[in-house]
Symmetry: C2
Subunit: 120 residues, 2 copies
DNA sequence: TTTACAGTGAACCATATGGTTCACTATCAA
DNA sequence: TTGATAGTGAACCATATGGTTCACTGTAAA
């Protein structure tokens, strides 16, 4: 899987822009043309076209042009890989913090034992 | 929550670089100095320092300098917000595709009924 | 057959990004 | 005290990004 990392690169990059996340939310509600999106996000057609292309490149959006108008819909990719990546790392995080918790617990017990010993 | 979107921006941007994701994985295994990381990723100290700063900015890494060496660890943020965002959108995706499925089912039933009617 | 509309592509612009080198500081070790 | 080591910051570079304008094509409508 050489492409896996490149895929994560482009997808996370696509998601790192507030306008593009907004477009995804919009398309979650209903399909829209480039003009619709450009108006909603106060941008030129050309500007919005670029965003849509980036989302399309990342597989998050698909488009189809019929007549003059290009209709944009949510794409087939459902962020499985990204969700998986994040979940794995949440577990890594948790594991490390659990280890930290255990260390703290261990130190607490040790301290308690020391205190006991001193009292005897 | 004005900061929410800006937060997603910086976090997704931080995650959109393969080196930085690598650093997070490394730190998931064990803490490391800037020098350690720079060597592992074949980069100058200055270059790695920049990556670490970006991860730190995003709250994904924390660092502490003792003596000459700055030790980097996983930060306190565990990507909750990002996981939530992705999960919500996976649901959006699913909802839309389920609707599509239903439409297809509906059309199938209709077609069947038409066929029956014709046969009569 | 005009005229208006939706999109496209090239060119441009300012700023951001990912990297470097170089000069510097601070610390550790001999 | 003198090196060597770890990191830092400024300056620089090439390329990417997010946006624009302008000129253009193709389609729809009057």
């Amino acid at each position: 899987m050489v492409h896996y990392q490149a895929r994560l690169d482009t997808t996370f990059a696509a998601l790192s822009d507030v306008t593009r996340r907004g477009v995804l939310e919009q398309l979650g509600g209903s399909d829209a043309s480039i003009t619709d999106l450009a108006q909603r996000f106060h941008m030129t057609l050309t500007g919005m076209k670029k965003h849509v292309s980036i989302l399309e490149q990342a597989g998050l959006v698909t488009t189809e042009k019929v007549g003059r108008v290009r209709t944009c819909k949510l794409g087939l990719r459902r962020l499985e890989e990204e969700a998986t990546w994040i979940e794995q790392h949440r577990q890594l995080w948790s594991a490390r913090f659990d280890a930290l918790d255990e260390l703290v617990e261990h130190l607490k017990r040790k301290e308690k034992a020391d205190a006991q010993r001193k009292r005897r």
